[in-house]
């Protein structure tokens, strides 16, 4: 009861807004941070708007003010800095899809971006928006976790760096404070012997929200057959994107040729607890999770010439 009263009063407050709705589009990050520290929760940060304007489709009038990041050029850059890649939060899905550097170093991320929505959505939607929106079905989230991404959060109080897996705390919930801005996504440059596979299952190719996604990234040792490290990350199977850590335990240090793909698929099935929803049942998702894990391992296997005959 208490909670519903609280909601009512919140609603009243937004409906009786007397301050005119404002639109800010600063050119510098510092200005954006100033505005954020001044308005906090009263302002909506807008990047591509491809999630936000759907969310506010029939209640745009509720938004107090907008902070548009479109004029901040440094948020649109993709650059290599020493041994890491820095991706600005305003980099669009189309940019990720087409960037030669992203295709070369992070093919799983590039392919995931290519599978988002439609050309219209990919031209506007951004990596930062996908992260901050924190949908359990966000297509870029499992790939970012699989590549060990760190997110840079900036406020007038300073900068902090958060690993992807600590950033998401629930469906559409993150640790981001209203005064903080996600500015950059940092990815370590992978070694040359890193292989990846992206699989998205949805009802149709275009404009589908994922029923399940898998981003599998395997790094081999110098012999190119011993597994040095691996991350199997899934979307749409839990309140947040998740890594199946047991896969790492099971595969690390093993000869890739000796792995039992069916067993690894079973581990993925056992370790997820998806829900029934409009895009698929729990049972379906569990079956598919196993099968796409096996498919992904087979694809990585064939990407370096198939298993060696004994």
């Amino acid at each position: 009861m208490e909670e519903s009263f609280e909601n009512l009063s919140k609603h009243k407050k937004t409906c009786q807004r007397t301050v005119p709705c404002q639109f800010f589009a600063p050119q510098r990050i510092e200005e954006a941070l100033e505005i954020l520290s001044r308005y906090g929760k009263e302002i909506k940060i807008i990047a591509g708007g491809t999630d936000l304007l759907i969310q506010y489709y029939d209640r745009l009038y509720e938004v107090g003010s907008w902070l548009d990041l479109k004029n901040i050029k440094e948020l649109k850059e993709v650059k290599i800095n020493k041994n890491q890649m820095e991706i600005g939060a305003m980099v669009s899905h189309a940019q990720l899809e087409n960037s030669e550097d992203i295709k070369k170093y992070y093919p799983v991320l590039s392919q995931a971006a290519a599978d988002i929505g439609s050309p219209q959505i990919r031209n506007r939607g951004t990596i930062g928006g996908n992260i901050v929106n924190a949908s359990p079905a966000g297509d870029l989230l499992a790939p970012l976790m699989a590549y060990d991404a760190q997110f840079k959060l900036l406020s007038t109080q300073g900068e902090m760096s958060v690993p992807a897996e600590e950033f998401f705390i629930g469906p559409k919930k993150t640790i981001l404070e209203p005064v903080q801005l996600l500015t950059r996504i940092i990815l370590p440059l992978p070694s040359e012997r890193t292989y990846g596979c992206w699989i998205k299952i949805g009802k149709r190719k275009a404009l589908s929200i994922a029923t399940i996604t898998l981003a599998l990234v395997v790094e081999m040792d110098e012999d190119n057959k011993t597994v040095k490290d691996v991350r199997a990350c899934l979307g749409s199977v839990a309140p947040t994107p998740i890594e199946i850590k047991e896969i790492r335990k099971k595969m690390r240090g093993k000869d890739f040729n000796q792995l039992d793909f069916a067993e690894l698929g079973q581990i993925v099935e056992d370790k997820i607890s998806p829900i029934d929803d409009i895009r698929g049942t729990r049972e379906y998702r569990k079956d598919v999770a196993k099968n796409i894990m096996i498919n992904a391992l087979e694809e990585i296997d064939s990407s370096f010439g198939g298993r060696i005959n004994e």
């Binding site: 304007l53 489709y57 959505i121």
Partner: protein
Amino acid sequence: MSKLMIELTINGKKRKVKTTASTRLLDLLRDDLHLTGTKEGCGKGECGACTVIMNGELIASCLVLAPQADGAVITTIEGIGNGGHLDPIQEAFVETGAVQCGFCTPGMILAAKKLLKENPHPDEEEIKRGISGNLCRCTGYQKIFDAVKLAADRLSSRNGGRGEKDA
């Protein structure tokens, strides 16, 4: 709600428009500028009826706030073709029967325009991907594919193999 002034170049003409912070670009085009060729279907970016070309990119105008388009260069369906003369893409749509109820057509034409500008000789898969953000509930798409192919052939023969000219 306070008014704010934005300036855009629409179909080659500079326009200054008074709008509000929460007005969608789609509503600005239709209601303020009376460019009603741009349609609203779902209002959620899924159907493509509101597609326009903004700063050279295909976008859904229902998912852009008008002030986000401040300073932008926009082409709507009214900017395609020249007065009484249809654009070759429009001609191809008419000839192949790719227009039935017509509601998706403005968005489809703009998606085709953008596709052929970037890729003058698309194969069937590339055409499918190029118009994947635009739904048509009448044609079953085959005639739209035919139209895009016909337009591609004509444009490349007219422009000496170079394909679509600048929009």
